[in-house]
């Protein structure tokens, strides 16, 4: 399980496409693949938003994500950071940020490898041996 994380319009999809090269992979946008299916999952935050708009509870949303993440298959999750900025006035917008944030926390805990993309520049923040212990890099 691999996560590619970063702000919007930072080049995350481009990075994943370059990594995959000619490897063909199922690519879903704002959708979840079937349980046990290998895929690149992009726009998870949009999928979460759709669920909230359809009155699905946070508990159910997290359960679906957990069930998928724990099923067999190799998946790359492209996660867009929406956690910063001013607290939105609209309650749905607030709930969206909250549920997205809690989903990401679960996925970050579960992933073996996490790459953060900053304007096209990748940085491993989890899963590259000692490099994830950033304080040790100073030694």
């Amino acid at each position: 399980m691999h996560i590619v994380f970063g702000g919007a319009f930072n080049g995350k999809r481009k990075y994943v496409k370059e990594q995959l090269k000619h490897e063909s992979s199922l690519w879903v946008e704002s959708e979840l693949p079937g349980m046990g299916e290998s895929a690149v999952i992009a726009g998870l935050e949009q999928w979460i938003r759709k669920q909230l708009e359809q009155q699905r509870s946070e508990q159910d949303i997290l359960a679906l994500i957990r069930e998928l993440a724990e099923s067999s298959g190799e998946r790359i999750w492209i996660l867009t950071d929406i956690s910063r900025g001013i607290v939105p006035v609209d309650p749905l917008e607030r709930e969206w940020r909250d549920v997205t944030g809690r989903s990401y926390q679960y996925l970050f805990g579960k992933a073996q490898h996490i790459t953060r993309i900053w304007y096209g520049i990748p940085q491993t923040i989890k899963g590259d041996g000692q490099d994830e212990y950033l304080h040790e890099n100073r030694r």
Partner: protein, 182 residues
């Protein structure tokens, strides 16, 4: 081609990015230190702040060019071997994208308008680099939050990605700490 170093510095509000960029430019030992400011005074507090910054920099030996839009107009004012700081992309982009507000026809709503400005900006950055010893460009982090203005944020991301790939150094500022990413 380009003789000067291109440095891209981005960070949040009050992250110390401008102060850090100023230090870098001063260390470059250019013929002059030139500051291109893109802010527009929209109220008296802003006007006072801009005037104060301008005065502080003048005492510090900086040449200030006020260039809220069309960076190419600053080009003739930049001399051979200057060290240049441009602050910042986010205000420039807002000024360009929402140009024509008074006339009721925004650049952002006009097909091809921003594409043209972007092409011109790339050329201008290359021309500034060809003249100068050091060119630091400062910008802001506003893409880690729910989209407020898709066109604005998409352009900003595109420009930042181009700068990060074009730059000799790319730095993310985090509360006064400079994280060198390239």
């Amino acid at each position: 081609m380009a003789s000067g170093q291109l440095v891209f510095i981005s960070g949040g509000v009050r992250s110390g990015k401008s102060a850090y960029a100023e230090t870098l430019v001063r260390q470059a030992k250019g013929a002059r230190n030139v500051y291109i400011a893109s802010g527009i005074a929209r109220d008296t507090e802003m006007a006072e702040r801009i005037a104060r910054h301008r005065k502080d920099r003048a005492q510090d030996g900086w040449w200030t060019i006020e260039q809220p839009q069309q960076l190419s107009e600053a080009l003739p004012l930049i001399r051979q071997n200057d060290a240049v700081l441009w602050d910042c992309i986010t205000t420039w982009l807002a000024n360009e994208l929402y140009e024509g507000f008074e006339q009721g026809s925004l650049c952002t709503d006009t097909p091809g308008c921003m594409e043209l400005k972007w092409q011109e900006l790339q050329n201008t950055i290359d021309s500034i680099l060809a003249k100068t010893v050091y060119f630091a460009i400062v910008s802001n982090e506003v893409l880690d939050e729910p989209l407020v203005d898709q066109a604005y944020q998409e352009w900003l991301g595109k420009i930042h990605q181009w700068l990060a790939s074009r730059a000799d150094q790319a730095i993310e500022m985090e509360n006064g700490l400079a994280i060198r990413r390239k």
